[in-house]
């Protein structure tokens, strides 16, 4: 299927409404990034999402859009609660995959040559890798509590402080979670994966603040040049994958019976007001809460590792959570459509919430400057801190990008890395890496991703969020 693109300006391209599309598509991009999109099927996926019942305004794609399954990665779509749908494929298997950034009092000069030892200590203390299990083994009732309480469960059990909760999207707890809708399989897979990083593109990085773009916002975020930060990217692990799989199976059968015309079976969806739609929402919320608890625990262990490895006091380390955001989720949110305030179910599949200054959902500490928007890059370049804007509310249902976005498939990346030592290349740039998987470094090398700086410039230019600071990795652990 060939997709027609109309350029609106240097940051926006429209896919006109044709065929079964109920609304047009809108891609936020740049002249450099848009050229890459014709190589895969992501534009067709934007058009496919536009055919779903109850979609409001437009089917959107963020500047890091790439080919996913069903929805594109970087896809955002909002649905009416009465007429609209919820789609497990519009959330993804790794429900509430997300990022968390911690600031410290340390400077890069204080870490210096200790970085290698720090990376080794993190690698030892943070369980990572395919199917990794953690140090926590949950009873069935504790697992239900994690699923309902999220980060609050972790804090109650000694992993962090109550101040962390207000520095987490939705305060680390999604309402409407109901563990009674979960399968035995999901419960089994969630039992021993809490406090694990996972594999693939998940990581923990020790970074240095490389550049500050907006000193005022950076001041509120407690960010200064030369400062050490810790960045975690992880999700709901096998617990979330199983929940998505269970409901896709059930919803897919229902769709066939109801004779919904779907352009892609992975877009299987249930009406939000149906019993099945409500059950999926309740299960998805359980996984979202599990993921928040997971990142809260990972942060706690990262802090313990720094204290122990550097032999310093908590006061000297001064580690604080800056913010935690999710980028695979469906949420009921209040938005303004044609002048009217209405609650919509916003799907963000590879997209980050971006709330503007003054938004009522923001904690007092960030209300003046907007929500911290955390954008991880690849392990060889940069990550970014941005701040939410009004532009995101008016254009993208309060959404921004979620990362660099892949450019090469894993096998293409492995092929390109043949004969190279990615580890040595990174070390030459002053980045020390430890990974568990044999192929991880090749599959995850910088060449496999778009230039995150180009993506962030497109986000900044289109007004979906504004740049605050850039972070450079010093040490990386991957699964």
């Amino acid at each position: 299927m060939s997709i027609q693109l109309e350029k609106l300006d240097n940051y926006r391209w429209r896919i006109p409404k044709t065929g079964q599309m109920r609304v047009p598509g809108l891609i936020f991009s740049s002249p450099e990034l848009i050229k890459m999109l014709h190589k895969d099927q992501s534009l067709t996926q934007v058009a496919n999402v536009a055919t779903l019942p109850g979609i409001v305004k437009q089917s959107l794609a963020m500047p890091d859009i790439h080919w996913g399954y069903g929805f594109p990665i970087g896809g955002v779509a909002a649905f009416d609660l009465n007429e609209g749908i919820i789609s497990p494929g519009g959330v993804g298997y790794d429900i509430n995959c997300g990022c968390r950034l911690m600031t410290t009092r340390l400077s890069a000069s204080e870490i210096g040559p200790l970085i290698k030892d720090l990376v080794s200590a993190m690698f030892k203390n943070i369980p990572s890798g395919v199917g990794s299990t953690g140090r926590i083994h949950l009873s069935k009732s504790d697992e239900a509590n994690v699923a309902v309480q999220g980060s609050a469960w972790a804090v109650k059990n000694g992993f962090g402080v109550s101040e962390d909760l207000e520095r987490t999207e939705d305060y680390g707890t999604m309402a409407e979670a109901d563990p009674s809708v979960l399968s035995e399989r999901a419960i089994k897979r969630g039992k021993d994966q809490l406090g694990t990083l996972g594999s693939g593109n998940h990581f923990l990085e020790i970074q240095v603040v490389d550049q500050v773009y907006d000193p005022e916002k950076a001041g509120v975020f407690n960010i200064r040049e030369g400062q050490i930060t810790v960045f975690i990217h992880s999700g709901s692990r096998g617990f979330g994958y199983q929940i998505c799989d269970d409901f896709l199976k059930e919803i897919s059968k229902k769709v066939i019976k109801e004779k919904f015309k779907l352009p892609d079976r992975q877009l299987a969806c249930a009406r939000l007001k149906s019993n099945l739609g409500k059950r999926y929402f309740a299960a998805m919320a359980c996984a979202a809460n599990y993921a928040w608890a997971n990142r809260q625990i990972l942060m706690h262990w990262a802090k313990e590792t720094l204290l122990e490895s550097l032999s310093i006091s908590p006061g000297e380390l001064g580690m604080k959570l800056l913010y935690d955001v999710c980028h695979n989720i469906a949420k009921k949110e209040l938005h303004t459509v044609e002048g009217e305030q209405i609650v919509l179910c916003v799907h963000r599949k590879g997209a980050t919430r971006s709330l503007p200054p003054g938004h009522h959902l923001l904690p007092e500490i960030y209300r003046k400057v907007g929500q911290p928007v955390l954008i991880p890059g690849d392990m060889g370049t940069y990550s970014y801190i941005l701040a939410g804007t009004e532009g995101a509310m008016t254009q993208s249902f309060g959404s921004s990008c979620h990362g660099a976005g892949r450019l090469l498939s894993r096998s293409q990346a492995t092929k390109k890395a043949q004969g190279r030592s990615i580890r040595s290349e990174l070390e030459a740039k002053g980045i020390f890496v430890q990974s568990r998987g044999k192929k991880t470094l090749k599959e995850e090398m910088s060449d496999a991703y778009k230039d995150v700086s180009q993506v962030v410039e497109a986000v900044h230019g289109s007004g979906l969020a504004c740049k605050v600071a850039r972070l450079r990795p010093l040490g990386v652990i991957k699964g």
Partner: protein, 142 residues
């Protein structure tokens, strides 16, 4: 599991990965798809079978059956830590599949995980009969 690696090709997908498999008939196609997925996920030295698992699956059509079939084998690995080492399809129709699997418990000394497959997706799923063979395309979420 004995299989020639030429029985399938790995599809390039930007974020994920997929396979294109051919079989002489539907039964052969489903067996080969399962073998291909296992080969992508894990490599194992020869081990004795320790467990026999009977599967009986009902779905509404062949593509749905393919996703479910591979999903069950994936769950055995990801959820039960069982590496499927032998596959026999006892009967198959467009809406039903019965199979006997042999498996061994995952042992990091004997098995090497090559790739984490999070899920078998319905995205662009295809199970089709060509002139004198059957072909399937399956995309995995990595």
């Amino acid at each position: 599991m004995d299989s020639d690696k030429q029985d399938f090709i790995v599809l390039n997908h930007t974020a994920d990965s997929g396979i294109m498999v051919c079989g002489t008939d539907v039964r052969n196609l489903f067996e080969k798809a399962a073998i291909a997925m296992m080969q992508i996920m894990v490599s194992c030295k020869h081990t004795e079978k320790t467990r026999t698992i009977k599967l009986s699956l009902n779905e509404q059509d062949l593509p749905g059956l393919m996703v479910r079939w591979l999903g069950e084998i994936l769950y055995l690995f990801a959820g039960e830590k069982e590496v499927v080492s032998g596959i026999r399809i006892d009967s198959i129709s467009p809406s039903h599949l019965a199979a006997t699997l042999e498996s061994v418990p995952f042992d990091p000394d004997l098995h090497e995980i090559l790739c984490e497959i999070k899920a078998v997706t319905y995205h662009q799923i295809q199970v089709v009969e060509k002139d004198d063979f059957w072909e399937a395309r399956v995309i995995f979420d990595l």
